[in-house]
């Protein structure tokens, strides 16, 4: 449920509110575009959409500096790519499996990586990205880059032990990493928190004395503030933070999920009350921060960008089949072709 104080944007400056709003709308409109294209069969494989996670993604994205790293987790991915600054064209092209995607079509929706933007990419085996994130953080620490690493995971993923091991390493080495659990109440159909019986997933940080917070992830300002604080702590050598960002999954796990495990009422209810985008939009307009016209113009502008990205993806060439054999290893191997030295 979106909390009453959402958004308490009085606390943050107008520019940040603008950014948060824009990022949220960018995510939603992009995903609507993906949904259309998926329904028409243009997007291969399966897609998981971010509806309901926009505030969480936006808050975290706006809190990061461009050189901070993001290791993407959970199944709500596109919004995370977007807030890390990857252009729509590129994301869409990768989703379409085209040569112009950042990964030349080898990755797709689940695997977008953009090293130049410090986007690590995703372990589509849910919960396998957190230890690499710890290692990325160690690299920042040892190389004294001043950068921080953010790493997301879903509520479901927290049942995998690899997540706990990552917390252990982060605590032991006081790493500059922020772990964010996006708790949307479901691992596909399983209600992790309820069925496992844990009051708050943030509690997982407590045994290790990792500062831990549970926040309303539908409130972009709350997310922005908590993550900003965690990033600052990490940057100043204060070590890891664990944040549970409570969100709602407004659609099925993947497109096509019939959600037999969820009452229709529940699904409807959530759409009305818990949609962070309409909620934030209404309140910023109500508060006079932005006019309804300006908001509509923003949406139109973004829709144009989405449309252009779809066109770009459609117009882009498929990767050449021979590229399938590239990038397996960097060749020649060390010393290869030179004989015993």
């Amino acid at each position: 449920m979106v909390s009453d104080t959402n958004p308490h944007f009085e606390d943050v400056d107008a520019e940040t509110v603008d950014e948060l709003l824009e990022q949220m709308v960018r995510i939603r409109r992009f995903e609507e575009g993906v949904l259309d294209e998926f329904s028409e069969g243009s997007v291969p494989g399966f897609v998981h959409l971010c509806h309901g996670h926009e505030a969480s993604h936006a808050g975290m994205g706006v809190a990061m500096q461009p050189d901070d790293w993001l290791a993407v987790g959970g199944s709500r991915l596109h919004g995370q790519y977007i807030v890390k600054g990857v252009p729509f064209d590129e994301i869409m092209a990768e989703l379409f499996g085209k040569a112009t995607g950042p990964n030349g079509g080898k990755g797709g929706s689940m695997h977008l990586a953009d090293v130049d933007r410090h986007l690590y990419g995703h372990a589509a085996t849910i919960g396998s990205g957190q230890n690499p994130a710890a290692g990325l953080a160690l690299a920042q620490q040892m190389r004294e880059t001043g950068n921080v690493v953010l790493s997301t995971i879903g509520d479901g993923g927290t049942s995998r032990g690899s997540f706990h091991t990552a917390l252990v390493f982060a605590a032991a080495w006081n790493l500059p990493v922020v772990y964010i659990i996006e708790n949307n109440g479901f691992a596909i159909s399983y209600s992790t928190q309820q069925q496992v019986g844990i009051d708050s997933l943030a509690d997982y940080g407590k045994p290790l004395n990792i500062p831990s917070y549970s926040i309303d992830g539908s409130d972009p300002v709350a997310v922005y503030e908590t993550i900003s604080e965690a990033i600052t702590r990490a940057r100043e050598g204060g070590g890891p933070t664990l944040v549970e960002s409570r969100v709602t999954r407004l659609r099925g796990h993947f497109e096509g999920d019939k959600q037999a495990y969820r009452t229709e009422e529940e699904a409807r209810e959530s759409n009305a009350e818990r949609d962070p985008v309409t909620n934030f939009q209404e309140r910023v307009i109500e508060a006079g921060h932005i006019t309804a016209e300006a908001y509509d113009a923003l949406v139109d502008e973004i829709d144009d960008e989405v449309g252009a990205a779809i066109q770009f993806a459609k117009d882009s060439p498929d990767p050449a089949p021979s590229t399938a054999y590239e990038d397996v290893l960097r060749l020649p191997l060390y010393g290869q072709g030179e004989g015993d030295a």
């Binding site: 079509g105 990755g107 689940m110 372990a123 849910i126 919960g127 049942s159």
Partner: protein
């Protein structure tokens, strides 16, 4: 005869075994109300309840690790993985625990558990959701590894796996889930550890399973005017019924091994080498292997189609031994 698709065949096998033996239970991610990743457990929780059809937290270590203990404790667990690739997340459990505990105990421990998972490529799911894992799991002494090619195989092999007293890893193929085939109404099981000659021929033996079995049949049809192709479906990859393959090669004198595992230390080389060793003097041509040429499975359709052996690659391989 009645036709079922692979999903229906699997569901029927699970249903019959849950019905037959109350020590059998099913567990895995979303096997309950959700009904299983491909619908293969639909309705079972309503029939057998949440005790015997158990949704699990998201952890394959938990799923197959607990199943090992449960099997030793007197149950017959069927543990489901949503994708066979996730066996790697429980690599330790497969390699060091499940495969070895009975041996280490000098045979004192019995682990009659089944792991069920869909393997293989073709659904544009990318590198971590598209692998064929029967080479690296079949390489571990102590595991029985089975791959289903038809709905008939899927049902019969899964039922036998559940009844078998060893840990058995049963691999359906994702891309064959909707594939239909004849499945008798009467209950039946299929023997584990035995290959079957699916198509008789005189000139060349093709060993193939799962999706590439069906492509091999296409290849055989295409070549039918010139070449008489015999096709052997191993069904069980570990242990492997080498004798049935050898017998076929003694007749045909030629061998092409086709499988979806990466070639390096995959299933193909081992099968070919066993024949090269044991039937060297029966062979009239070099044994050929066809598989994924040592790349991960890429996402893009163009790329994925490139790395999974096509019918025409199989045709080429067959032609190359003449």
């Amino acid at each position: 005869m009645r036709e079922l698709n692979q999903v229906q065949a699997i569901r029927e096998a699970l249903d019959e075994e849950l019905e037959r033996d109350e020590t059998v239970y099913l567990s895995g991610e979303d096997v309950g109300t959700f009904g299983g990743n491909f619908g293969e457990t639909q309705g079972l929780v309503d029939k057998y309840g949440t005790e015997r059809v158990r949704d699990t937290p998201l952890s394959e270590i938990g799923i197959v690790g607990h199943a090992l203990g449960a099997s030793i404790g007197g149950l017959r667990p069927v543990a489901e993985l949503q994708f066979a690739d996730f066996a790697a997340t429980a690599g330790e459990e497969f390699i060091n625990q499940i495969a070895k505990m009975p041996y280490i105990s000098g045979g004192r421990l019995k682990a009659p558990m089944t792991v069920l998972a869909p393997s293989g490529a073709g659904i544009r799911a990318g590198a971590q959701h598209s692998q064929s894992v029967h080479a690296w799991t079949g390489h571990q002494p102590g595991l029985v590894v089975v791959a289903a090619t038809t709905p008939y195989d899927a049902k019969g092999l899964l039922k036998s796996a559940i009844r078998d007293d060893n840990p058995v890893f049963v691999l359906a193929h994702k891309k064959l889930m909707g594939f239909k085939g004849e499945v008798p109404e009467e209950p039946y099981t299929l023997p584990l550890g035995e290959a079957v000659v699916e198509r008789e021929g005189e000139d060349v033996t093709v060993v193939a399973t799962q999706r590439l079995y069906h492509r091999s049949v296409e290849a055989a049809e295409e070549l039918a005017e010139d070449v008489s192709v015999e096709i052997v479906n191993p069904r069980t990859f570990s242990p492997l019924d080498v004798e049935t393959i050898a017998e076929s090669v003694r007749k045909t004198g030629r061998l092409v091994v086709v499988d979806e595992t990466p070639l390096r230390y995959g299933t193909q080389g081992y099968i070919a080498s066993r024949i090269a060793d044991e039937e060297f003097f029966s062979l009239d041509a070099p044994p050929r292997t066809v598989g994924v040429e040592d790349t991960p499975i890429p996402f893009s359709p163009t790329l994925e189609d490139e790395v999974i052996p096509s019918t025409s690659k199989i045709v080429d391989a067959i032609e190359s031994v003449f």
